[in-house]
Amino acid sequence: MTISTQQLLAYADGELDPAEARAVEQALAADPLLAARLEAEQRLRATLKGHLDPVAHEPVPDALSAMIAAAMAEDAAVPESQDEPAANTANAASTRASKPAPVLDFAAAKARREEERKERARAKAKSAFKLGRPGANGLNGKAPVRGGPIFARPGLAAGLAASLVLGLMIGTSLDLGRFATPDADVVEQDGRLLASGDLAKGLQTQLASNQGEDAALRILTSFRNEAGQFCRVYSDSASAGIACNASGDWVLERTMAQVPTHGASPAYRQAGSAEAELMQAAQGMAQGDALDAEAERKALSEGWRAPEN
Protein backbone atom coordinates (compact mmCIF):
# COMPACT_ATOMS: atom_id res chain seq x y z
CA MET A 1 0.00 0.00 0.00
CA THR A 2 1.07 3.58 -0.47
CA ILE A 3 2.06 5.56 2.57
CA SER A 4 1.64 9.31 2.44
CA THR A 5 4.24 11.66 3.88
CA GLN A 6 1.73 12.74 6.44
CA GLN A 7 1.21 9.14 7.54
CA LEU A 8 4.93 8.64 7.78
CA LEU A 9 5.34 11.74 9.89
CA ALA A 10 2.45 10.71 12.09
CA TYR A 11 4.15 7.37 12.55
CA ALA A 12 7.39 9.14 13.47
CA ASP A 13 5.48 11.30 15.93
CA GLY A 14 3.77 8.28 17.50
CA GLU A 15 0.32 9.46 16.47
CA LEU A 16 -0.89 6.28 14.81
CA ASP A 17 -2.93 3.59 16.44
CA PRO A 18 -1.40 0.05 16.48
CA ALA A 19 -3.13 -1.11 13.31
CA GLU A 20 -2.05 1.94 11.33
CA ALA A 21 1.45 1.69 12.74
CA ARG A 22 1.69 -1.92 11.62
CA ALA A 23 0.70 -0.94 8.10
CA VAL A 24 3.40 1.73 7.98
CA GLU A 25 6.00 -0.71 9.29
CA GLN A 26 5.11 -3.21 6.60
CA ALA A 27 5.50 -0.50 3.93
CA LEU A 28 8.82 0.61 5.43
CA ALA A 29 10.14 -2.90 5.26
CA ALA A 30 9.23 -3.13 1.57
CA ASP A 31 10.30 0.40 0.56
CA PRO A 32 13.93 1.51 1.19
CA LEU A 33 13.16 5.07 0.02
CA LEU A 34 10.40 5.39 2.54
CA ALA A 35 12.72 4.02 5.20
CA ALA A 36 15.34 6.62 4.26
CA ARG A 37 12.81 9.39 4.63
CA LEU A 38 11.85 8.16 8.05
CA GLU A 39 15.49 8.08 9.01
CA ALA A 40 15.87 11.69 7.87
CA GLU A 41 12.88 12.65 10.03
CA GLN A 42 14.41 10.95 13.02
CA ARG A 43 17.73 12.68 12.51
CA LEU A 44 16.01 16.03 12.23
CA ARG A 45 14.25 15.37 15.48
CA ALA A 46 17.49 14.43 17.14
CA THR A 47 19.15 17.54 15.81
CA LEU A 48 16.42 19.84 17.07
CA LYS A 49 16.37 18.18 20.43
CA GLY A 50 20.11 18.24 20.61
CA HIS A 51 19.96 21.94 19.98
CA LEU A 52 17.27 22.81 22.49
CA ASP A 53 17.39 20.16 25.20
CA PRO A 54 20.54 21.60 26.82
CA VAL A 55 18.48 24.65 27.72
CA ALA A 56 16.28 22.46 29.85
CA HIS A 57 19.35 21.29 31.75
CA GLU A 58 20.64 24.75 32.51
CA PRO A 59 20.11 25.94 36.06
CA VAL A 60 16.87 27.88 36.33
CA PRO A 61 17.41 31.57 37.16
CA ASP A 62 16.68 32.30 40.81
CA ALA A 63 14.33 35.13 39.85
CA LEU A 64 11.86 32.71 38.32
CA SER A 65 11.80 30.33 41.26
CA ALA A 66 11.58 33.26 43.64
CA MET A 67 8.51 34.65 41.89
CA ILE A 68 6.71 31.37 42.30
CA ALA A 69 7.84 30.96 45.89
CA ALA A 70 6.59 34.46 46.70
CA ALA A 71 3.17 33.66 45.25
CA MET A 72 3.05 30.45 47.23
CA ALA A 73 3.94 32.29 50.44
CA GLU A 74 1.30 34.88 49.67
CA ASP A 75 -1.38 32.23 49.34
CA ALA A 76 -0.23 30.40 52.41
CA ALA A 77 0.00 33.56 54.49
CA VAL A 78 -2.09 33.28 57.61
CA PRO A 79 -2.97 36.39 59.55
CA GLU A 80 -1.73 36.43 63.14
CA SER A 81 0.97 33.95 62.24
CA GLN A 82 3.06 33.45 65.32
CA ASP A 83 5.81 31.31 63.89
CA GLU A 84 7.19 33.53 61.20
CA PRO A 85 10.77 33.10 60.09
CA ALA A 86 13.39 35.24 61.77
CA ALA A 87 13.71 37.41 58.68
CA ASN A 88 10.15 38.58 59.21
CA THR A 89 10.33 39.40 62.88
CA ALA A 90 10.62 43.10 62.17
CA ASN A 91 7.50 42.93 60.08
CA ALA A 92 5.72 40.93 62.69
CA ALA A 93 6.70 43.40 65.39
CA SER A 94 5.44 46.36 63.42
CA THR A 95 2.24 44.49 62.71
CA ARG A 96 1.72 43.96 66.40
CA ALA A 97 2.60 47.57 67.15
CA SER A 98 0.12 48.88 64.63
CA LYS A 99 -2.71 46.92 66.15
CA PRO A 100 -4.96 49.32 68.01
CA ALA A 101 -4.55 48.81 71.69
CA PRO A 102 -7.76 48.14 73.63
CA VAL A 103 -7.17 51.32 75.57
CA LEU A 104 -7.37 53.29 72.36
CA ASP A 105 -10.63 51.63 71.53
CA PHE A 106 -12.07 52.50 74.88
CA ALA A 107 -10.89 56.07 74.57
CA ALA A 108 -12.45 56.32 71.16
CA ALA A 109 -15.70 54.90 72.43
CA LYS A 110 -15.67 57.31 75.33
CA ALA A 111 -15.04 60.25 73.04
CA ARG A 112 -17.86 59.02 70.86
CA ARG A 113 -20.23 58.77 73.81
CA GLU A 114 -19.20 62.23 74.98
CA GLU A 115 -19.85 63.62 71.54
CA GLU A 116 -23.26 61.98 71.44
CA ARG A 117 -24.08 63.36 74.86
CA LYS A 118 -23.13 66.87 73.74
CA GLU A 119 -25.17 66.40 70.61
CA ARG A 120 -28.22 65.46 72.65
CA ALA A 121 -27.67 68.45 74.92
CA ARG A 122 -27.42 70.76 71.94
CA ALA A 123 -30.56 69.34 70.43
CA LYS A 124 -32.36 69.74 73.74
CA ALA A 125 -31.25 73.33 74.18
CA LYS A 126 -32.21 74.05 70.65
CA SER A 127 -35.70 72.66 70.95
CA ALA A 128 -36.15 74.37 74.31
CA PHE A 129 -35.03 77.59 72.78
CA LYS A 130 -37.65 77.22 70.11
CA LEU A 131 -40.23 76.90 72.83
CA GLY A 132 -39.14 80.23 74.16
CA ARG A 133 -39.46 82.10 70.96
CA PRO A 134 -42.62 81.08 69.24
CA GLY A 135 -43.42 82.93 66.07
CA ALA A 136 -39.85 83.45 65.13
CA ASN A 137 -38.70 81.83 61.93
CA GLY A 138 -42.18 80.73 61.00
CA LEU A 139 -42.78 77.76 58.84
CA ASN A 140 -43.24 79.81 55.74
CA GLY A 141 -40.12 81.78 56.39
CA LYS A 142 -41.93 85.01 57.19
CA ALA A 143 -40.23 87.54 59.36
CA PRO A 144 -41.15 87.23 63.01
CA VAL A 145 -44.53 88.72 63.68
CA ARG A 146 -44.55 92.15 65.14
CA GLY A 147 -44.34 91.83 68.85
CA GLY A 148 -42.26 88.69 68.73
CA PRO A 149 -38.92 88.51 70.45
CA ILE A 150 -36.67 90.93 68.71
CA PHE A 151 -33.42 89.60 69.85
CA ALA A 152 -32.23 86.31 70.95
CA ARG A 153 -28.60 85.66 70.60
CA PRO A 154 -27.72 82.15 69.51
CA GLY A 155 -25.05 81.98 72.16
CA LEU A 156 -27.67 82.49 74.77
CA ALA A 157 -29.25 79.14 74.19
CA ALA A 158 -26.32 77.20 75.55
CA GLY A 159 -26.36 79.16 78.76
CA LEU A 160 -29.99 78.46 79.36
CA ALA A 161 -29.81 74.75 79.38
CA ALA A 162 -31.20 74.04 82.81
CA SER A 163 -34.38 75.82 83.57
CA LEU A 164 -34.51 79.19 81.94
CA VAL A 165 -35.59 79.98 78.49
CA LEU A 166 -35.60 83.50 77.34
CA GLY A 167 -38.00 85.42 75.30
CA LEU A 168 -36.36 88.74 75.60
CA MET A 169 -38.60 91.51 74.54
CA ILE A 170 -38.67 95.16 74.24
CA GLY A 171 -41.18 97.71 73.26
CA THR A 172 -44.83 98.19 73.81
CA SER A 173 -46.63 95.69 71.72
CA LEU A 174 -46.04 92.38 73.36
CA ASP A 175 -48.35 89.50 72.95
CA LEU A 176 -48.03 88.43 76.51
CA GLY A 177 -50.56 85.67 76.23
CA ARG A 178 -47.86 83.31 75.12
CA PHE A 179 -45.95 83.29 78.31
CA ALA A 180 -48.11 85.06 80.79
CA THR A 181 -48.76 83.27 84.01
CA PRO A 182 -52.35 82.39 84.78
CA ASP A 183 -52.68 85.37 87.03
CA ALA A 184 -51.17 87.74 84.54
CA ASP A 185 -49.59 90.73 86.24
CA VAL A 186 -49.16 92.58 83.00
CA VAL A 187 -51.73 94.62 81.15
CA GLU A 188 -51.64 96.47 77.93
CA GLN A 189 -52.64 100.04 77.92
CA ASP A 190 -52.25 102.63 75.18
CA GLY A 191 -49.74 100.43 73.45
CA ARG A 192 -47.66 100.04 76.56
CA LEU A 193 -47.16 97.10 78.90
CA LEU A 194 -47.93 97.98 82.43
CA ALA A 195 -47.34 96.00 85.56
CA SER A 196 -50.45 95.25 87.54
CA GLY A 197 -51.54 93.13 90.40
CA ASP A 198 -48.87 91.57 92.55
CA LEU A 199 -46.12 92.65 90.17
CA ALA A 200 -47.12 96.30 90.36
CA LYS A 201 -47.48 96.02 94.12
CA GLY A 202 -44.09 94.39 94.49
CA LEU A 203 -42.40 96.93 92.30
CA GLN A 204 -44.02 99.69 94.31
CA THR A 205 -43.34 98.39 97.78
CA GLN A 206 -40.32 96.08 97.82
CA LEU A 207 -36.81 97.16 98.48
CA ALA A 208 -33.90 95.46 96.77
CA SER A 209 -31.92 95.94 99.94
CA ASN A 210 -34.49 94.38 102.18
CA GLN A 211 -36.65 91.56 100.90
CA GLY A 212 -37.52 88.19 102.21
CA GLU A 213 -35.81 85.08 101.03
CA ASP A 214 -39.10 83.52 100.08
CA ALA A 215 -40.55 86.51 98.32
CA ALA A 216 -42.37 85.62 95.13
CA LEU A 217 -40.92 88.70 93.52
CA ARG A 218 -37.35 89.72 93.83
CA ILE A 219 -36.05 93.17 93.07
CA LEU A 220 -32.55 92.81 91.77
CA THR A 221 -31.65 96.44 91.59
CA SER A 222 -33.03 99.94 91.25
CA PHE A 223 -31.68 102.78 89.12
CA ARG A 224 -32.64 105.90 87.26
CA ASN A 225 -32.77 106.01 83.49
CA GLU A 226 -31.81 108.87 81.18
CA ALA A 227 -35.22 110.42 81.55
CA GLY A 228 -34.74 110.47 85.32
CA GLN A 229 -37.36 107.82 85.90
CA PHE A 230 -36.91 105.24 88.58
CA CYS A 231 -36.50 101.75 87.14
CA ARG A 232 -36.30 98.37 88.75
CA VAL A 233 -35.00 95.04 87.60
CA TYR A 234 -37.25 92.31 88.87
CA SER A 235 -37.61 88.56 88.67
CA ASP A 236 -40.31 86.14 89.66
CA SER A 237 -41.18 82.59 88.85
CA ALA A 238 -42.91 83.50 85.60
CA SER A 239 -40.93 86.34 84.20
CA ALA A 240 -38.19 88.84 84.70
CA GLY A 241 -37.82 92.30 83.36
CA ILE A 242 -37.14 95.95 83.78
CA ALA A 243 -39.90 98.27 84.75
CA CYS A 244 -39.68 102.06 84.89
CA ASN A 245 -42.11 104.30 86.69
CA ALA A 246 -43.85 106.82 84.52
CA SER A 247 -46.35 109.03 86.29
CA GLY A 248 -47.28 106.31 88.72
CA ASP A 249 -47.41 103.40 86.28
CA TRP A 250 -44.76 100.72 86.04
CA VAL A 251 -44.03 100.49 82.36
CA LEU A 252 -42.30 97.27 81.35
CA GLU A 253 -39.32 98.21 79.25
CA ARG A 254 -38.15 94.68 78.97
CA THR A 255 -39.60 91.38 79.93
CA MET A 256 -38.35 87.84 79.73
CA ALA A 257 -40.46 84.81 80.25
CA GLN A 258 -39.04 82.25 82.58
CA VAL A 259 -40.22 78.89 81.37
CA PRO A 260 -39.41 76.08 83.72
CA THR A 261 -38.18 72.95 82.00
CA HIS A 262 -39.98 69.69 82.50
CA GLY A 263 -39.98 68.43 86.00
CA ALA A 264 -38.70 71.64 87.45
CA SER A 265 -40.84 73.19 90.11
CA PRO A 266 -42.35 76.53 89.13
CA ALA A 267 -40.85 77.89 92.27
CA TYR A 268 -37.44 76.75 91.33
CA ARG A 269 -35.39 79.75 90.62
CA GLN A 270 -32.06 79.96 89.03
CA ALA A 271 -30.13 83.14 89.03
CA GLY A 272 -28.86 82.58 85.61
CA SER A 273 -28.42 84.17 82.30
CA ALA A 274 -31.83 85.81 82.22
CA GLU A 275 -31.06 87.97 85.17
CA ALA A 276 -27.53 88.57 84.08
CA GLU A 277 -28.83 89.64 80.74
CA LEU A 278 -31.25 92.05 82.36
CA MET A 279 -28.64 93.47 84.68
CA GLN A 280 -26.48 94.16 81.69
CA ALA A 281 -29.37 95.87 79.93
CA ALA A 282 -30.04 97.90 83.03
CA GLN A 283 -26.48 99.06 83.07
CA GLY A 284 -26.93 100.39 79.59
CA MET A 285 -30.12 102.21 80.53
CA ALA A 286 -28.97 103.59 83.82
CA GLN A 287 -27.92 107.16 84.38
CA GLY A 288 -25.40 106.96 87.17
CA ASP A 289 -25.02 104.19 89.69
CA ALA A 290 -27.67 101.92 91.00
CA LEU A 291 -29.58 103.27 93.96
CA ASP A 292 -28.14 102.39 97.32
CA ALA A 293 -30.36 101.28 100.17
CA GLU A 294 -30.99 104.80 101.40
CA ALA A 295 -31.75 106.29 97.98
CA GLU A 296 -34.04 103.39 97.26
CA ARG A 297 -35.93 103.90 100.51
CA LYS A 298 -36.24 107.61 99.73
CA ALA A 299 -37.55 106.96 96.23
CA LEU A 300 -40.03 104.45 97.59
CA SER A 301 -41.29 106.88 100.15
CA GLU A 302 -41.80 109.45 97.45
CA GLY A 303 -43.79 106.99 95.31
CA TRP A 304 -41.06 106.50 92.67
CA ARG A 305 -41.87 109.79 91.10
CA ALA A 306 -39.15 111.24 88.99
CA PRO A 307 -37.79 114.27 90.80
CA GLU A 308 -38.18 117.54 89.01
CA ASN A 309 -34.83 118.70 87.77
Binding site: A10, R43, S65, I68, A71
Partner: protein
Protein backbone atom coordinates in the same frame (compact mmCIF):
# COMPACT_ATOMS: atom_id res chain seq x y z
CA UNK B 1 -6.60 22.27 44.51
CA UNK B 2 -4.19 24.13 46.60
CA UNK B 3 -2.10 26.82 45.04
CA UNK B 4 0.81 25.15 46.77
CA UNK B 5 0.37 22.26 44.40
CA UNK B 6 0.09 24.66 41.48
CA UNK B 7 3.29 26.42 42.46
CA UNK B 8 5.18 23.17 42.94
CA UNK B 9 4.14 21.95 39.50
CA UNK B 10 4.98 25.28 37.90
CA UNK B 11 8.43 25.21 39.45
CA UNK B 12 8.97 21.72 38.07
CA UNK B 13 7.94 22.98 34.64
CA UNK B 14 10.49 25.78 34.53
CA UNK B 15 13.27 23.85 32.69
CA UNK B 16 10.88 22.81 29.94
CA UNK B 17 9.42 26.30 29.75
CA UNK B 18 12.86 27.73 29.24
CA UNK B 19 13.52 25.25 26.45
CA UNK B 20 10.26 26.13 24.72
CA UNK B 21 11.03 29.83 25.08
CA UNK B 22 14.40 29.31 23.41
CA UNK B 23 12.77 27.31 20.64
CA UNK B 24 10.23 30.06 20.01
CA UNK B 25 12.59 33.01 20.21
CA UNK B 26 15.94 31.58 19.10
CA UNK B 27 17.46 34.19 21.37
CA UNK B 28 18.76 33.84 24.89
CA UNK B 29 17.72 37.27 26.18
CA UNK B 30 14.32 37.13 24.52
CA UNK B 31 13.80 33.67 25.96
CA UNK B 32 14.59 34.85 29.48
CA UNK B 33 12.20 37.80 29.17
CA UNK B 34 9.50 35.59 27.74
CA UNK B 35 9.91 33.13 30.59
CA UNK B 36 9.60 35.81 33.19
CA UNK B 37 6.49 37.33 31.61
CA UNK B 38 4.92 33.91 31.26
CA UNK B 39 5.48 32.95 34.87
CA UNK B 40 4.16 36.32 36.01
CA UNK B 41 1.02 35.92 33.98
CA UNK B 42 0.53 32.32 35.03
CA UNK B 43 0.83 33.26 38.69
CA UNK B 44 -1.58 36.11 38.24
CA UNK B 45 -4.17 33.76 36.72
CA UNK B 46 -3.38 30.81 38.96
CA UNK B 47 -6.83 30.82 40.50
CA UNK B 48 -8.39 30.40 37.06
CA UNK B 49 -6.56 27.20 36.32
CA UNK B 50 -8.84 24.20 36.57
CA UNK B 51 -7.59 21.25 38.48
CA UNK B 52 -7.50 18.05 36.44
CA UNK B 53 -6.32 19.74 33.26
CA UNK B 54 -2.74 19.69 32.14
CA UNK B 55 -0.82 22.51 33.71
CA UNK B 56 2.00 22.29 31.17
CA UNK B 57 -0.33 22.80 28.20
CA UNK B 58 -1.98 25.70 30.06
CA UNK B 59 1.31 27.47 30.69
CA UNK B 60 2.71 26.73 27.23
CA UNK B 61 -0.32 28.38 25.78
CA UNK B 62 0.26 31.47 27.89
CA UNK B 63 3.87 31.58 26.73
CA UNK B 64 3.04 31.11 23.08
CA UNK B 65 0.38 33.85 23.11
CA UNK B 66 2.76 36.15 24.91
CA UNK B 67 5.37 35.56 22.25
CA UNK B 68 2.94 36.10 19.39
CA UNK B 69 2.01 39.45 20.90
CA UNK B 70 5.67 40.35 21.10
CA UNK B 71 6.38 39.30 17.52
CA UNK B 72 3.49 41.35 16.23
CA UNK B 73 4.61 44.38 18.22
CA UNK B 74 8.13 44.07 16.84
CA UNK B 75 6.88 43.71 13.30
CA UNK B 76 4.91 46.91 13.68
CA UNK B 77 7.89 48.70 15.20
CA UNK B 78 10.45 47.85 12.53
CA UNK B 79 9.05 46.97 9.16
CA UNK B 80 12.33 47.89 7.47
CA UNK B 81 14.37 45.56 9.63
CA UNK B 82 15.31 42.35 7.89
CA UNK B 83 16.55 39.52 10.07
CA UNK B 84 17.25 37.18 7.19
CA UNK B 85 20.77 36.19 8.13
CA UNK B 86 20.69 37.00 11.78
CA UNK B 87 20.93 33.32 12.56
CA UNK B 88 24.54 33.34 11.35
CA UNK B 89 25.58 35.62 14.13
CA UNK B 90 24.22 33.64 17.00
CA UNK B 91 24.92 30.22 18.32
CA UNK B 92 28.25 30.93 19.92
CA UNK B 93 26.72 31.23 23.32
CA UNK B 94 27.00 28.34 25.74
CA UNK B 95 30.51 27.45 24.42
CA UNK B 96 29.64 24.22 22.60
CA UNK B 97 32.31 21.89 21.33
CA UNK B 98 34.23 23.33 18.39
CA UNK B 99 33.06 20.73 15.88
CA UNK B 100 29.38 21.31 16.64
CA UNK B 101 29.63 25.10 16.41
CA UNK B 102 28.71 25.30 12.77
CA UNK B 103 26.00 22.73 13.17
CA UNK B 104 24.32 24.59 16.05
CA UNK B 105 24.49 27.78 14.11
CA UNK B 106 22.84 26.13 11.18
CA UNK B 107 20.02 24.67 13.24
CA UNK B 108 19.28 28.02 14.81
CA UNK B 109 19.38 29.73 11.46
CA UNK B 110 17.09 27.12 9.95
CA UNK B 111 14.62 27.42 12.77
CA UNK B 112 14.77 31.21 12.68
CA UNK B 113 13.98 31.22 8.98
CA UNK B 114 10.79 29.24 9.48
CA UNK B 115 7.56 31.19 9.54
CA UNK B 116 6.40 31.64 13.10
CA UNK B 117 3.40 29.35 12.72
CA UNK B 118 5.57 26.49 11.38
CA UNK B 119 8.26 26.90 13.96
CA UNK B 120 5.90 26.74 16.90
CA UNK B 121 4.27 23.61 15.50
CA UNK B 122 7.62 21.92 14.91
CA UNK B 123 8.97 22.82 18.34
CA UNK B 124 5.84 21.74 20.20
CA UNK B 125 5.67 18.34 18.55
CA UNK B 126 9.27 17.41 17.78
CA UNK B 127 11.05 18.99 20.74
CA UNK B 128 8.48 19.37 23.48
CA UNK B 129 6.85 16.05 22.58
CA UNK B 130 3.21 17.10 22.61
CA UNK B 131 0.68 14.98 20.77
CA UNK B 132 -1.00 16.57 17.77
CA UNK B 133 -4.19 17.08 19.70
CA UNK B 134 -2.45 18.83 22.58
CA UNK B 135 -0.32 20.99 20.32
CA UNK B 136 -3.37 22.04 18.33
CA UNK B 137 -5.08 23.07 21.56
CA UNK B 138 -2.11 25.06 22.74
CA UNK B 139 -2.02 26.88 19.41
CA UNK B 140 -5.79 27.12 19.28
CA UNK B 141 -5.98 25.69 15.75
CA UNK B 142 -7.63 22.60 14.25
CA UNK B 143 -5.52 19.48 14.27
CA UNK B 144 -5.49 19.37 10.45
CA UNK B 145 -4.00 22.84 10.37
CA UNK B 146 -1.37 21.73 12.83
CA UNK B 147 -0.27 18.69 10.83
CA UNK B 148 -0.21 20.82 7.70
CA UNK B 149 2.08 23.42 9.27
CA UNK B 150 4.15 20.70 10.85
CA UNK B 151 4.68 19.01 7.49
CA UNK B 152 5.73 22.21 5.74
CA UNK B 153 8.02 23.18 8.56
CA UNK B 154 9.74 19.82 8.52
CA UNK B 155 10.18 19.95 4.81
CA UNK B 156 11.84 23.34 5.00
CA UNK B 157 14.12 22.24 7.80
CA UNK B 158 15.16 19.06 5.97
CA UNK B 159 15.94 21.10 2.93
CA UNK B 160 17.99 23.53 4.98
CA UNK B 161 19.74 20.94 7.09
CA UNK B 162 19.65 18.11 4.58
CA UNK B 163 23.35 17.39 4.61
CA UNK B 164 23.34 17.21 8.40
CA UNK B 165 20.02 15.63 9.11
Amino acid sequence: MSTTHFCTELTALLPRLRRFARGLTQDIADADDLCQQTVERALKSRHQWQDGTRLDAWVYRIMRNQWIDEVRARTRRSQTFVHEDEGLNVGTVGAPAAESLVELGNVERALARLPEEQREAVVLVMVEGFAYKEAAEILDIPQGTLTSRLGRGREALLKELGEIA
